[in-house]
Symmetry: C2
Subunit: 245 residues, 2 copies
DNA sequence: TGATGTGAAATACTTCACAGCC
DNA sequence: GGCTGTGAAGTATTTCACATCA
């Protein structure tokens, strides 16, 4: 899934938390575990078994245990995991103990929706700035934030100590915006524009493309249709899938 | 990435296109190739090498060739791939030769944005119905479509021959909506609500959770910060990553 | 006893490297 | 000569199955 591979944290034996070198696939699932754990905590659960948490997160329990074992996480044999403790562990590994500031570039249709999405704030992200290249949009107030011109980025980045950039512009503008983000020191970008971004080493880009998701569903739909059309075909044997990343 | 595995199309030797049994990872990349191919076609390219297409799609060329070889696709050695032909092949495999109708449930913040997103129409999907459970939203017109009550789903599904359901409701409502979609025969669901859906076998669910993407970026950001903080640490060696699906 | 943590096996995916064809 | 298609090698991930421990 990813061309990622981080070298293990070198030397310094014994000191500090020591950032375990997690498999990408595990990292991609931790947020889901976290969400499930918060839901459990909200309903008064103090401990949970790997089986219970796994089903709440939509994975199988062996995978969950293996994932958590990478954190060096302590469950209690015969009992399960302490919900509060596990939340703290995962948040610490994901770097969510500090609130991260996000700059959102492009306040069109999708940008508006993202600016108003409360799922960010509730998970420790603060949309700290809205930017757009279109002068007619600059000055507009959305959700208590005033849209600024994208050329203000250098100032904004410093003022708000931006940690993550989100690109919600049309595809043709996306690369230029990415370049601007990189220029002001942003090293993590979430890209909603349907195009490939080229960025220097050390910058992480994740891409979300809504149309791609539909096309993947279309493939399975297409296949199911042709299978059931076959006379001898047994019924489809699919089970739920999720986006892995 | 997926608990998916389809049995190979049985018997019927010799007949029809014969749906090759593609690896999930390949399926997830085909839409990206398709996008890149359309861009190439728009700029007048008639053929493209695996190297050229790969870089336009953000993957390496060996992976691209392997992926295309699964389609049984014909490139020409020494030349490359015929752009138009390859577009047709991929569209046919993904089942995009017919326009698919989408029902979007939940017209809050995100739902509004999705309803207005033109990336769907341009890739062969038609938002055929908008639904919401909130009576105060029913009747509202968005982008030329009137919002209907979610209880109208059975009628709507038949009238518009809905092929894919998109859930953009708050998490607590999502499971009920999924059940309603399944009840009217929808077998492909794209879920934007931050929760796990349980659905019967044969129904495909893909999930997009914007907060999860940010949390994954947060992890890498966190790690980069602690690596550069270490005195002896070599510079980070990341390269771009993308969502796999 | 009952659930975690984990080697080892199985599977999936990626990359290499080159034969084969245009 | 250049580029595709692909076996084989290498990696990553998932799953199994059970030793281990509260």
């Amino acid at each position: 899934m990813s061309q990622h591979r981080h070298p293990g944290a070198p030397g310094r034996a014994g000191a500090v938390p020591a950032l375990p070198d997690l498999p990408e696939a595990t990292v991609a699932r931790l947020p889901e575990y976290l969400r499930a754990l918060h839901a459990l905590a909200d309903t008064g659960h103090e401990t949970v078994s790997s089986e219970g948490l796994a089903s709440a997160a939509g994975v199988n329990s062996a995978k969950l245990r293996k994932d958590l074992s990478h954190l060096g996480s302590y469950g209690t044999r015969g009992v399960g995991y302490d919900v509060t403790l596990l939340i703290e562990q995962i948040e610490s590994v994901l770097g969510l103990t500090q609130c991260r500031s996000v700059a959102l570039v492009g306040v069109g249709n999708l940008g508006h929706a993202l600016a108003g999405y409360d799922g960010f704030a509730s998970r420790g992200f603060r949309i700290a700035a809205l930017l757009d290249a279109d002068p007619s949009r600059v000055g507009e107030e959305i959700n208590g934030l005033v849209v600024r011109h994208v050329d203000d980025l250098p100032r904004v980045a410093v003022e708000e100590s931006i940690s993550i950039g989100v690109i919600a512009t049309p595809a043709p503008a996306a690369q230029a915006v990415a370049d601007q983000l990189v220029a002001v020191g942003v090293t993590s970008i979430l890209n909603f524009a349907p195009c490939v971004l080229s960025v220097p080493e050390g910058v992480d880009v994740r891409k979300v493309d809504l149309a791609i998701e539909l096309q993947i569903l279309s493939f399975h739909e297409h296949r199911k249709a042709s299978l059931t059309a076959l006379p001898g075909g047994l019924a489809a044997t699919d089970t739920q899938e999720a986006i892995g990343t």
